[in-house]
Symmetry: C2
Subunit: 346 residues, 2 copies
Amino acid sequence: MRTVFWDENRDALCMIDQRLLPAKFELACYTDYRAVAQAITEMVVRGAPAIGAAAAFGLALAARQSRAGTPEGLLADLREAASTLGAARPTAVNLHWALRRILKTASEYPGPAEKLRQVVMAEAQRIADEDVEINKRMARYGAELIADGDTIIHHCNTGALATVDWGTALGVIRTAHEQGKRIHVLVDETRPRLQGSRLTAWELQQYGIPFDIISDNAAGYFLRTGQAHKVFFGADRVAANGDVANKIGTYMLALAARDNGVPAYAVVPTSTIDLSLDSGKQIPIEERDPAEVLNIRRDGQPLSPPGATARNPAFDVTPNRLISAIVTENGVVYPPFEDGLREVTG
Amino acid sequence: MRTVFWDENRDALCMIDQRLLPAKFELACYTDYRAVAQAITEMVVRGAPAIGAAAAFGLALAARQSRAGTPEGLLADLREAASTLGAARPTAVNLHWALRRILKTASEYPGPAEKLRQVVMAEAQRIADEDVEINKRMARYGAELIADGDTIIHHCNTGALATVDWGTALGVIRTAHEQGKRIHVLVDETRPRLQGSRLTAWELQQYGIPFDIISDNAAGYFLRTGQAHKVFFGADRVAANGDVANKIGTYMLALAARDNGVPAYAVVPTSTIDLSLDSGKQIPIEERDPAEVLNIRRDGQPLSPPGATARNPAFDVTPNRLISAIVTENGVVYPPFEDGLREVTG
């Protein structure tokens, strides 16, 4: 099953509700694009490529919801919907990439409104289908970077759940595993939302890949004691210079990798690369609800005192000097990144 | 109230049960040294200086429990108890320092067994009393490093709860606050046991010092965006070359501080300095129960899949090159640390 898909029977956009995993496996289905925008904000769906596909199908829903009888009217409604969907989360650029791609196709389509609705749906479906294929291509490039016997530190979730299917960084690990390489994964739990311990651990169990969950704090220990040989993560936006915005904590992980001569790889579809930004400094960083930091419990006990406040930036920017290579579906880009990133996106 | 104290009414060693905070404030009292060793292992009491005081009173209990009628017999029983207490946790050297100090006093005492029991208790009490005085001296030295308006990142808990009273790194922050400096603390939640969000946040509320809890992952973001000006932490053991063993995550935090030109300070009583070790590589690192990583919940949901395994190193070693200064009760030591550390401990 795909993480994000159009369900013909339900005639709705359906997604695995990632807030409930690993305790419950449930689908959330949508027929209103505004509800899709909210689902993206609330992280029913997360992971840059999965968000892109969800937004694409969100626009297809908006096309069906629009009562416009003319292509111009429908396009205006699509643009409004794209603005709502585009505001759902600020950091991952795939969201905007998918919306732009669909708006472009729609605006260039010469036929009537009713046909245009089908064109939009077909383009959304194409984005979803392509994502799976792109991930598998990336995975083959990336798997060449993994040696038999490697222990790999992985941050956040970048697997099938973060994409339409297969995954980016975790897709690389999965492909290396299928190639027969013996690998062990140290899964950063990835506070505050614990995508590592909740989602990545759950995926690795399904694939039969050996792993241990670690607190994010422990990554430096394993790197410094020579117990980890590679670091892999995805990204939510890559600037033209190779600066990588990714889940909060990636920067400190990449620093620790570099300090110990361990390579750190970002695995991204080219739709994550934003050549319009010179550097990572220009990437907007989402700050989420402090409750995400405050609301965990152990043994039923709340883990912060009543009245405590929190700050909760969801992403950080890892400067290009700490990135060993960026793996894309069109090849592996090494530093300096400028030319290579232009090439793979060209 | 002190974190660790001899209670005359109960005729017992009492400690604030730090496993229950901030939900419950409860004392745990002991009359058997073996139960004290277990309490140290289970982290009823934690924080290097507090563990040292607890172990000292543990030996005083052992002296009372011993049926030996001769000083030699009592000393043998004390040595056996010291070996049990010394094995309770491996990384913090204060534990061994306190045990050694009491055994030395006991072995040099020329009087009869009954008097020797009193001597041991008096020495334990002296260690506890001195800890408070030492912390306040450290705090005055350390507070000079804090400027009005500073935002300070703090890792783990190093406050009154980590010591007999006042605290090491948090003691410095508390003293700077009492001096009228306006400071804001970014409290690393400190996974896996969340000493930051549970204990440090609770202490800061009591002292009226403004703070926000952050996930450990977020420290790099605040450092890189210029929103944090100093980093403070304690230590569990400092080697002769200034390498600092401290709560897991300190190494990555210190790396991020250095990468952004932000000073990182370790605040330690000289009893934490272990000149017998040339470097941090020789410091034993405790690996604790994986359940500490796996057993947290959010909204009542378990946060890792059934059957998932974890690794749980409790400490890491920050190399001396990342430490800006080490604050002790005898002054601030700057790099290179070898001579200065010998001087302050001499």
